[in-house]
């Protein structure tokens, strides 16, 4: 199972990076969303997918899933939501102010540095 998951995660990352490299701000944001999904699944898979019960202490359960990747992912989900929300509003405001969502047109110029 882990092998198939690894390939699926690789595919998610590929799609995410491809989107992030495009010129449109919207596609970049969607790309970051996909990237976080990929990262969550990656953490989960790296910890191993074995285990037949949730990591909750109860009578008679011995083979439970690894709790640490889950704890990490839980934090990551929330943070990635914060980031996505921030990006969205940033894109919205940038589009309002600049009238474009093309990254090539939004780049800084030399005059900005001086």
């Amino acid at each position: 199972m882990e092998v198939i998951m690894a390939i699926a995660i690789g595919f998610l990352f590929m799609a995410a990076v491809y989107l992030m490299l495009s010129k449109s701000l919207l596609r970049i944001i969607i790309g970051t969303g996909l990237l976080s999904h990929g990262a969550h699944l990656l953490i989960l898979t790296m910890g191993g997918l074995g285990g037949s019960a949730p990591p909750v202490l109860s009578e008679g359960v011995t083979n439970m899933a690894d709790a640490i990747p889950q704890a990490l992912i839980l934090t990551a989900i929330v943070i990635s939501f914060g980031v996505t929300a921030f990006f969205l509003v940033l894109a919205y405001r940038a589009y309002q102010e600049l009238g474009t969502d093309d990254m090539n047109l939004m780049r800084g110029t030399d005059e900005d540095d001086e």
């Binding site: 690789g10 590929m14 990076v17 490299l21 010129k23 969607i30 997918l49 285990g51 019960a53 929300a85």
Partner: protein, 804 residues
């Protein structure tokens, strides 16, 4: 302990200078400063009686004991001589500056703070026995020199000169640091004395020559040797007291000091002898030849300093020859080291006085341009006398001290041709010839300096000020120095016994047991020998050349300006500034997309190559979870929805597909026994999709902005690389569990320590409670930022919008 503190007295005194300058406006700040070098000179003078018999006085203060770095003040003949020069000339220069710099117009607090800083640094250089602290002080002299050259910082030339000296000397300093580090690794110690003690074993080390060349780079840049001398003429933008002090008497001699100090270590090397002597002699010739080209009084003196430093340097190189000769103390090779130190003292006296006179001329006439000057002899008789004494000494005319050391210099150079190692018997004859030619030009520029300024026609119409003699206070220092020039001629052996021989003992410790064993006696008359005829030749040819200067001065125009070293430096600086900037701009495009491309490419290349170079990739199916039908279906859903995101043309489809990816991830969490994650993911995904829909309503259509096929192909290759990399990493991580999971700890303690059963939740709120707290903080900051962005309306932009 106390002796080390003496080094820091000037820099400590510097702390009070700005206060004195601000509070005591009625008295020139220089008077307070003057106390410091005078007291220090008195202290160091009290060492003379002990050091002149060959004793060395050591004092140590630990600085960073764990790194074996300490301040060690080691005073032997060489250090003491330099310390006395630094404080003695320092006192005269401060006295001179009191009259040179106006109390009301100049920023004296800056000036004296820099000057005192330099004094500490320079004392540190010549007394440090520890390589690292020596380097530290060395760079501090560069920095204070930079500050002093740029003292009149509103002048372009000052800033340019300051930067130039900094670039060149700091370059050399860094090279020297490299050499020091190599040396300390070779010897296993930072102490110069200990390194000297093991000199024979060092010489066989592989790095010996490399460290030698690096250290010489430091010495040559500092002591303005060819081709690094170009910073010194530009450093003349500094106020004249600084030129007299740093750029003729002390700082530029730090390189000389270093070469002298390390001679016992490196003298056995052929490279050392050739480099030090060759570069020194060439610099001597080059400086003296081009001094006559200059029209600025201080420019002449700058080139003359370059040339004289070369002279001392070549003598030190010749001094190293004595290490290769049996019974050197009985041969003619013994003179070089003595002559080097003797000339160093003489140079400090006559060049110091000449600089002060140049400053006086500048001060009283308003110009230093030798073409406008002339006929000042009757107006400034005292200045003329001092200038004449200094110049004649520089030219090597008796009865001035320069004559004595020039004779010894010629003796040493003549001796070289009798040396039969290092191919010197073939090439050695060049040395006395070059030395003679250079001495002729030295004679010419000395006369050029004094007679073009003080004799000839007085041209008041060209002078910004009406010329008159300087105030007596300003004349005291040059008069003292000029008297020394005269006195030393008559008592050379007292100077030799007290100052020169102890220093020679430090340079050539293998040759002599004690100071009294050095069999050198200076006398003005040696009978009719080769040196005398050479000297007479110098006077005759020099005088003829001086009379015909206008006829042959055109020679200097043969070499075009753009070929000069200065142009080379300028071009190099432009290259650093403009061309490298241009190169950076080629890839620093200002577009985040490009930077992402660089980053992803590098991550892929580095990670994948590491995986294979370190043989970290492994693949095993062992211990993998079984595959179920649900999971296969989910993966298909995941991939199909991702494809939809990639290829959809409409915003709405893309959003919904993204949502589908999110929900399938949530379902994965369900399958893999992570109920908390699944719940969170469902909630977050729902909110996210809603937010996307809300925002997309305001956003433009999903456009690809006419992305070309090549552009897309590039992106595809990079993203494919990232995907492959992640897959490989995931497989490797899964296939090799190097350490057992630490979850066992939580399983065992979650009930006893935290009193909970749901391990994931307990980890979040208990074991990593602060982490969660900060996570909430991050979320709130993001929330506030969003609120801020929505409410923010830049007024400038709003106006633009109204105009549209």
């Amino acid at each position: 302990m106390v002796q080390v503190l003496f080094i820091f007295i000037p820099i400590i005194a510097a702390i009070f200078i700005p206060v004195l300058f601000k509070k005591v406006r009625g008295i020139h700040t220089g008077w307070f400063v003057l106390i410091v070098p005078v007291v220090l000179a008195a202290i160091y003078a009290s060492y003379i009686s002990r050091v002149m018999h060959g004793e060395a006085i050591v004092s140590k203060v630990n600085w960073v004991p764990s790194l074996d770095i300490s301040f060690i003040s080691y005073i032997d003949g060489l250090s003491l001589l330099f310390s006395l020069l630094i404080t003695g000339i320092g006192a005269l220069v401060v006295l001179y500056s009191i009259f040179y710099l106006d109390r009301t117009r100049e920023q004296l607090h800056n000036f004296y703070v820099y000057l005192l800083m330099f004094m500490s640094a320079m004392l540190g250089v010549v007394q440090s026995d520890h390589l690292i602290s020596l380097y530290l002080f060395w760079e501090l002299t560069s920095i204070s020199s930079f500050l002093l050259i740029g003292y009149w910082y509103d002048r372009d030339r000052s800033r340019f000169g300051a930067l130039k000296s900094m670039m060149i000397t700091v370059f050399g300093g860094l090279m020297m640091l490299g050499g020091f580090i190599l040396l300390s690794i070779m010897g296993g110690t930072y102490s110069i004395r200990e390194l000297i003690a093991q000199a024979p074993t060092l010489a066989t080390h592989d790095w010996f020559t490399l460290s030698l060349v690096l250290i010489l780079l430091g010495a040559f840049t500092k002591s303005a040797q060819f081709p690094f001398y170009i910073w010194l003429p530009d450093a003349m933008e500094a106020p004249t007291p600084v030129s007299a002090y740093l750029h003729s008497a002390t700082m530029v001699k730090a390189g000389i000091y270093l070469v002298a100090r390390l001679t016992p270590i490196y003298a056995s090397s052929e490279t050392w002898v050739w480099l030090v002597m060759g570069v020194g002699l060439f610099t001597l010739f080059w400086g003296s030849f081009f001094a006559v080209k200059q029209t600025d009084l201080k420019g002449i003196l700058a080139f003359s300093t370059v040339s004289q430093l070369g002279l001392i340097m070549s003598l030190l190189g010749a001094g190293a020859v004595a290490f290769h000769v049996d019974q050197a103390q009985d041969t003619v090779f013994k003179f070089a080291a003595f002559a080097a130190i003797f000339h160093l003292i003489n140079h400090a006296t006559f060049k110091g006085s000449l600089f002060m006179i140049a400053g006086i001329v500048d001060h009283e006439t308003g110009t230093r341009d030798i073409r406008k000057l002339g006929g000042l002899m009757s107006l400034m008789p005292i200045s003329f006398t001092v200038a004449a004494i200094g110049s004649f000494s520089m030219a090597g005319i008796p009865p001035f001290n320069g004559f004595l050391s020039k004779e010894m210099f010629l003796t040493s150079m003549l001796a070289i041709k009798d040396f039969n190692l290092f191919a010197m018997d073939t090439w050695g004859a060049i040395f006395p010839i070059v030395a003679w030619i250079a001495s002729v030009f030295t004679f010419v520029y000395s006369f050029y300096f004094v007679f073009k300024t003080f004799t000839g026609k007085y041209k008041p119409e060209l002078l910004p000020k009406k010329a008159h003699e300087a105030p007596i206070g300003m004349l005291i220092s040059p008069i003292i120095l000029a008297s020394l020039v005269l006195i030393i001629f008559f008592i050379p052996n007292i100077i030799g016994d007290v100052f020169v021989k102890p220093a020679v003992l430090a340079i050539q410790p293998f040759l002599y047991d004690s100071v009294s064993a050095i069999p050198i006696h200076v006398s003005a008359w040696h009978g009719f020998n080769t040196e005398l005829f050479m000297t007479i030749g110098i006077f005759v040819v020099g005088f003829l050349l001086f009379l015909t200067i206008p006829k042959w001065q055109k020679l200097y125009n043969i070499v075009p300006d753009w070929l000069s070293l200065n142009r080379l430096y300028d071009r190099f600086m432009t290259f650093l500034d403009k061309d490298l900037n241009f190169i950076s701009k080629l890839y620093m495009t200002g577009s985040i997309r490009n930077y992402l491309v660089y980053m992803f490419s590098f991550i892929v290349v580095i990670t994948i190559s590491t995986l294979f170079v370190k043989d970290a990739f492994s693949f095993s199916m062992e211990g993998t979870a079984p595959i179920h039908v649900y999971e296969i279906i989910l993966i298909l859903v995941l991939i199909i929805s991702t494809m939809t995101v990639l290829f959809s043309k409409s915003r709405l489809t893309a959003i919904i597909a993204l949502g589908a990816v999110g929900y399938s991830v949530a379902l994965f969490f369900v399958i893999f026994n992570a109920p908390d994650l699944a719940l969170t993911q469902l909630v977050i995904e729902t909110v996210s999709v809603a937010l996307f829909l809300l925002a997309f309503y305001h956003l433009p259509k999903l456009s690809r902005h006419e992305e070309r096929i090549r552009f897309r192909l590039n992106n595809f290759i990079i993203s494919l690389g990232v995907g492959v990399m992640v897959t490989l990493v995931a497989l490797s991580a899964q296939s090799q569990k190097l350490v057992p999971s630490i979850t066992e700890y939580y399983k065992e303690t979650v009930n006893t320590l935290a009193g909970g059963g749901n391990i994931v939740n307990v980890i979040l709120v208990d074991y990593r409670g602060f982490d969660t707290l900060f996570e909430i903080t991050v979320l709130s900051i993001a929330g506030m930022a969003i609120l801020g962005m929505i409410q923010l309306r830049l007024s400038r932009k709003e106006n633009e919008h109204e105009n549209k």
